[in-house]
Symmetry: C2
Subunit: 184 residues, 2 copies
DNA sequence: TGTACATCAGTGAACGCGCGTTCACTGATGTAC
DNA sequence: TGTACATCAGTGAACGCGCGTTCACTGATGTAC
């Protein structure tokens, strides 16, 4: 039966939120449209009232995941001064919680492997998300802008690589990599 | 018709080599058993004379990919002294060629995202491969061993993150990240 | 404000497709004598 | 060294399954009067 505009909007938001969670947790191929709709307490057929294809859902889910990450980075860096920016960032990014919960963590280590095989437009959108994170970290580092951006890019690359490898390894290897990368 | 033992062994090696190439290039889910057998110039049914499951093929393909990477790292570092070890490693790891050709490149940025969702035993094998690369880099860095290992881990994490993000981004973002990470 | 009806969000069965895997078959290879 | 036969690598059709997507249907919502 038809739902009100408010209910429809709520459903839309819920589908995107569940997709953002499941894509990060189980991968894009590992998450079916049916999985997303079940997580959103709907049946799979209704999906196509909200998105033309699974790919369109991915675009929306990535945008939502990056927005959430932007907030997290901004909040985490608001409390520290320029000296402690990199250390503070690494401390939260490389936390046990972030490593263990890909589904609510940064979209970059969770999805970059899948994104590498996507089309140009989707990679460009992902690149914009990456630059958004690096820019926020560079803001906190301060000083000469291009130096700050380079340092932010290097720090973020190391953090992404560390989380990625930690998730793909046994616990001992994971702990050794994270510990080595924790100091700025 | 039955093949000689030598031909059978050749086929086995060829299946593993093609799998190592295709898994890195197209992802694990993105590569079917039929794709691998076609690349090896065989029909898909014969696959099960060589491996019990696709998962067993993945194990063999990963081992082959890591062995190839170990060789590449050793050869690349043989020519440099301790001072230039990190710079030399980054220079070859972050080369345009490595970034553009995931199918022949390092298995870590190519497959770690997929491996994060695999079982404990497979993650342990992947972790052993990661430690193998870090250990070879630490050998070249020299000096106090645990310091060298930490520095090697940090350098490798940055390199992996940089390649991963470069592949998942637009060319401009990719170039900026690689340039920032190139200096040791 | 009340009525009549067109719209459309959501349901669940059905579709074609590609996947991993199985199987009956073929005939050259390897082995036992 | 030669012969007889069991083995088994490779073929290609077939399997069940889950996927993304479509569709006919339902009935509450939104709108035109």
């Amino acid at each position: 039966m038809r739902r009100s505009q408010a209910e429809t909007a709520e459903t839309h938001v819920e589908i995107v939120a569940q997709a953002a969670r499941l894509f990060r947790g189980r991968g894009i191929d590992g998450t079916s449209v049916g999985d997303v709709m079940k997580a959103a307490n709907r049946t799979h057929g209704g999906f196509y009232r909200h998105f033309e294809t699974k790919e369109a859902l991915l675009d929306a889910a990535l945008a939502a995941a990056f927005d959430g990450m932007f907030d997290k980075v901004e909040k985490g860096l608001a409390a520290v001064d320029a000296e402690g920016a990199i250390g503070g960032f690494l401390n939260s990014y490389l936390s046990a919680d972030m490593v263990a919960h890909a589904e609510t963590g940064c979209p970059v280590p969770a999805l970059a492997g899948d994104m590498a095989r996507m089309n140009e437009g989707q990679r460009a959108a992902f690149g914009t998300g990456i630059r958004g994170i690096i820019a926020r970290l560079a803001d906190a580092i301060g000083g000469e802008r291009s130096d700050a951006e380079r340092q932010a890019a290097r720090t973020f690359a190391m953090a992404v690589g560390a989380v990625l490898m930690a998730r793909a390894s046994d616990p001992e290897t994971a702990a050794a990599i994270l510990a080595a990368c924790r100091q700025p």
